[in-house]
């Protein structure tokens, strides 16, 4: 068998495939953060006064908060005054169709393999493409509008649907929820807004691609998805970012609201620049994602494939408030080189007969550190609550780490909560079996890892499942346990 450490080294030295910089003219705010910068962001976006006020309140809250240090991640202190909080690509003219989109933007998407034109024609997926925080093109809008679905950039929603934004913004992740959420609330640049009216089943998978482009620009997206009574939607989010030397801070907030009988499925493939083999550069991905099953029989499902970023720090959670509501969390997290991931979920059971499922698969290679941190909380009102948690970790090589920190808090005697976890290295027997049958070691590892993650991949929408499997195989090139 090939020498393990040399294989791991080879894996660790894998180049980031999507590192390129597209030269766009950007409209940049001065470095640093103060009330003037917030006013500038707000005025650039032509926001109403209540929105500015909301941002300022968040900023004042943020000033009183301290950066959390409990997560299992090591990084140099972030200088929040050395970040540019706003950068918008300059559209040359007002856009009415794809033809008018900056050709450089289109070329960049082509490089990433998601040509808008192609997507519109072939895949039937509506893409709200975001480059550096501002939507430059939105497709399939008319088709969605026919059934009453609102799918637009966040800024547009503030202009066109202020009553909806006002009603739901901050109801799931309050302004002062945590340090990074407060920062986001103060300076968020743009994001996606999605509203599915009563009884509507969204006719297509909604998708948005966030990309970080201008150097040293923190990205602060804000996503808000509302599914009214009986509505359902599947939302896809995917990311790749160009190679950078200095760390980029990314603090997004995603809020989901599901009313009676509504269903929201939120899928993510995250492949931001993870830094080089020595751990230099790479994205800091500090994200707050939370859904609220506000109505009875509602369902929120999170699926994530996290392969990028130098540091990932996110806990997509579900507040199970409505009776019989369902929360799900499926996650694959891969850390290689010096990547650190501290991720997991929070399931808060409040309503009766609520149930939640957690499946987390963590793969560590190189010097990667992978932590599952999850909370299952059953309040005394949640009679008949059910939870099943399964966290498995796979270790490739002797220098990586896998950690599991589950918290289970139960206050109701009729609740049933189960947590299972295991950690082991890749099965020598399985590898041997494959190789004995003529499968090269690398393919065998890839096969085994894909099998290890299958439970999660099958939850992804088809387009993403293919991408995710490809991503994992690419990430595992040259690695062996």
């Amino acid at each position: 068998m090939t020498d393990v450490s040399s294989e791991v080294r080879e894996f660790a030295s894998r180049e980031y495939q999507y590192g390129f910089v597209t030269d766009l003219e950007t409209d940049v705010a001065p470095r640093g953060l103060n009330e003037d910068v917030i006013r500038l962001i707000s005025s650039k976006k032509n926001e109403p006064d209540w929105m500015l006020e909301w941002r300022l309140k968040a900023y004042r809250g943020w000033l009183t908060m301290e950066e959390p240090t409990w997560q299992k991640a090591n990084y140099a202190p972030i200088d929040y005054q050395d970040i540019i909080y706003y950068a918008a690509p300059k559209p040359k003219v007002a856009l009415t169709s794809l033809d008018e989109v900056d050709p450089e933007v289109l070329a960049m998407f082509d490089k990433l393999g998601i040509s808008l034109a192609e997507q519109e024609r072939l895949s039937g997926v509506a893409v709200d493409a975001i480059v550096d925080s501002v939507s430059v093109a939105t497709t399939f809008k008319e088709k969605l509008a026919d059934v009453g679905v609102i799918f637009c950039s966040f800024s547009e929603a503030v202009q066109c649907h202020p009553e909806l934004v006002k009603r739901y913004l901050g109801t799931v992740v309050p302004r002062r929820d945590n340090f990074f959420a407060a920062l986001n609330s103060a300076v968020f640049s743009d994001g996606s807004f999605c509203f599915i009216p009563k009884g509507v089943r969204c006719p297509m998978e909604l998708s948005t691609y966030f990309r970080i482009n201008a150097a040293d620009t923190g990205q602060f997206e804000r996503t808000l998805i509302i599914a009214e009574e009986g509505a359902s939607v599947s939302y896809l989010e995917g990311c790749t970012a160009p190679m950078r030397d200095t760390n980029q801070l990314h603090a997004a907030v995603v809020e989901l609201v599901a009313l009676d009988d509504a269903q929201i499925k939120y899928s993510t493939v995250q492949n931001w620049y993870p830094g080089d083999a020595e751990g230099r550069g790479g994205i800091y991905n500090f994200v707050t994602k939370r859904g609220k099953c506000a109505g009875v029989n509602s369902k929120i499902s999170w699926t994530q494939v996290e392969t990028g970023s130098a540091i990932t720090w996110k806990y997509p959670g579900v507040i199970l408030q409505g009776d019989n509501s369902v929360g799900e969390f499926y996650s694959v997290a891969l850390t290689a080189n010096h990547q650190q991931a501290d991720t997991g979920t929070k399931m808060i059971h409040i309503g009766k007969n609520t149930s939640s499922t957690i499946v987390s698969k963590a793969i560590s290679a190189g010097h990667g550190q992978n932590t599952y941190r999850g909370l299952v909380k059953v309040l005394d009102s949640a009679s008949g609550a059910r939870n099943h948690t399964q966290c498995d970790s796979l270790l490739l090589g002797g220098d990586c780490g896998a950690h599991t920190f589950p918290y289970v808090e139960v206050k109701n005697p009729t609740a049933q909560v189960e947590h299972e976890a295991s950690t082991s290295k890749i099965g020598e027997d399985q590898l041997f079996y494959c190789r004995q049958r003529g499968i090269p070691e690398e393919d065998a590892v890839s096969m085994i890892v894909n099998g290890f993650c299958r439970e999660v991949f099958k939850e992804l929408p088809m387009e993403f499942a293919v991408e995710a499997q490809k991503l994992l195989s690419v990430s595992l090139e040259g690695s062996v346990g």
């Binding site: 409990w70 059953v378 005394d380 970790s393 270790l395 490739l396 090589g397 002797g398 220098d399 990586c400 780490g401 896998a402 950690h403 599991t404 920190f405 589950p406 918290y407 289970v408 808090e409 139960v410 206050k411 109701n412 005697p413 009729t414 609740a415 049933q416 909560v417 189960e418 947590h419 299972e420 976890a421 295991s422 950690t423 082991s424 290295k425 346990g481």
Partner: protein, 445 residues
């Protein structure tokens, strides 16, 4: 011995100072000062400390405790101890309010070279013998209560077993508190040193006859290569008492250590187990059963550090929670980068019997190498309704059917107790406790 009791400041525990009795070696004075300085500098744990997240120590700190002093009168007799702690047939050392009470103790013949005595007697006669154990406390992971124990401890058990010796009968350490009118804190510190390839069974029983008191105990067990020690702990303190205990274990190469902790009493109890596996091939088993009801709070933190290769650790903790009882399992396994071939498992199961009981469980794994097999699991649930139905269909009344199944859940832990007289004693204790819960629970379907 001094009789001038130190006056406790209104700050309670934080104001305590060691009641030094004059004839102590200098190194010990240094340890005591260091303990107090540690408390002064770091303070007492709060809910903000990860390891104390679910245990509020405020109610303990609010009590104006006086330190127990040696030579205090007690109202106990040997037969009273039989009733409180049982007679296991072997050597029994009794400590009243943390101080050795020879008149209540029984010493049996032991293999040559074996020392089973009180810490205070060794300190008085041959203090240097204790220096390697006390001057370098096993745990660098102090918290305020272990630091306070280091500062205040004057007595406890000292057990030293020579290489290759086998002690068949269990050595029973009984810590009995008799607080009377004013709140007392006792700080026993016990040391068990098992020589190479020796074998012994140690049983610790903590009981009290009532009143408000705090037992702040530390037990250290050092196993030389190939030693085998079975440790049992029965915490059956008065319901008004507080019990904070730390068990620190350092197993030698290919040694084997097991501990079984049963928590029955106390208003707030915390039994902490810390094992550092620094020698290859050692095996440790940590078992626990906690049965809080009323307003009791039972916290069970464990930390197993796998440093050396090829060690095995097993943990099984079970809880049955009734009334307003609250149970906490706070397990933590750390597998270091050199601990190749580690096999670790951790299981926690809980049964909630009442609407107002609460359980918080947190089985944590931290793994820094790949050649390991680690699993953990936690479950919270209730009795299997089908099993209840099965019994009822055969004419067993509902209450009784539930009682049988609850006892069966807890009984798994009791089966693991290898000392016959202890097992039967504990079985009846647990049965009595669960019956009490049953009658308390009439409104609960």
């Amino acid at each position: 011995m001094t009789t001038t009791a130190t006056t406790a400041s209104p700050r309670g525990l934080a104001g305590l100072e060691p009641a030094l009795n004059g004839h102590q070696p200098g190194w010990l004075g240094g340890i005591r000062r260091a303990g107090l300085e540690w408390v002064a500098e770091h303070g007492f744990p709060t809910l903000g400390d990860e390891d104390w997240k679910y245990t509020r120590v405020g109610p303990i700190l609010d009590v104006p405790f006086q330190p127990a002093v040696g030579g205090m009168k007690h109202r106990l007799s040997a037969s009273a101890i039989d009733g409180l702690a049982g007679d296991l047939g072997g050597t029994r050392l009794v400590f009243a309010n943390g101080y050795f009470a020879p008149e209540l103790s029984t010493l049996m013949a032991l293999p040559e070279g074996t020392t089973v005595t009180s810490l205070a007697s060794v300190l008085a006669g041959d203090a240097e013998r204790l220096e390697p154990f006390l001057a370098r406390p096993l745990s660098s992971q102090h918290h305020a209560f272990t630091a306070l124990n280091a500062a205040l401890a004057e007595d406890g058990a000292f057990i030293q077993i020579p290489p290759d010796a086998t002690i068949a009968a269990p050595i029973h350490l009984v810590f009995v508190s008799d607080a009377g009118a004013s709140p007392l804190v006792s700080s026993p510190r016990s040391v068990v040193h098992a020589g190479a390839r020796s074998q012994a069974t140690i049983v610790e029983t903590h009981v009290g006859s009532g009143g408000v008191y705090l037992t702040n105990a530390v037990t250290e067990v050092i196993l030389e290569d190939g030693a085998q020690v079975q440790h049992y702990k029965v915490q059956d303190e008065a319901d008004t008492a507080f019990h904070l205990a730390a068990l620190h274990v350092r197993p030698g190469r290919d040694s084997s250590f097991s501990t079984h902790a049963l928590a029955l009493g106390a208003a707030i109890a915390r039994h902490e187990v810390w094992v550092k596996l620094e020698a290859a091939g050692a095996e440790v088993t940590l078992n626990g059963l906690y049965l809080p009801d009323g307003n009791q709070h039972h916290d069970n933190p464990t930390l197993i550090e796998h440093v050396a290769p090829r060690c095995t650790s097993r943990q099984l903790y079970k809880g049955v929670l009734g009334g307003h009882g609250r149970g906490v399992f706070n397990g933590h396994i750390v597998v270091g980068p050199d601990a190749l071939g580690t096999d670790a498992s951790q299981t926690n199961k809980n049964l909630l019997l009442s609407d107002t009981a609460e359980v918080d469980t947190r089985p944590r794994l931290e793994i820094l190498t790949d050649d390991v097999r680690c699993t953990h699991g936690a479950a919270v649930g209730q009795l299997d309704e089908e099993a209840v139905f099965y019994l009822r269909s055969r004419g067993v009344p509902h209450q009784q059917a539930r009682g049988v199944l609850t006892y069966a859940f807890a009984g798994e832990m009791l089966q693991l107790i290898g000392v016959g007289p202890l097992r039967s004693r504990v079985e009846s204790k647990v049965a009595e406790r669960l019956n009490r819960e049953d009658t308390d629970r009439e409104t609960f379907r």
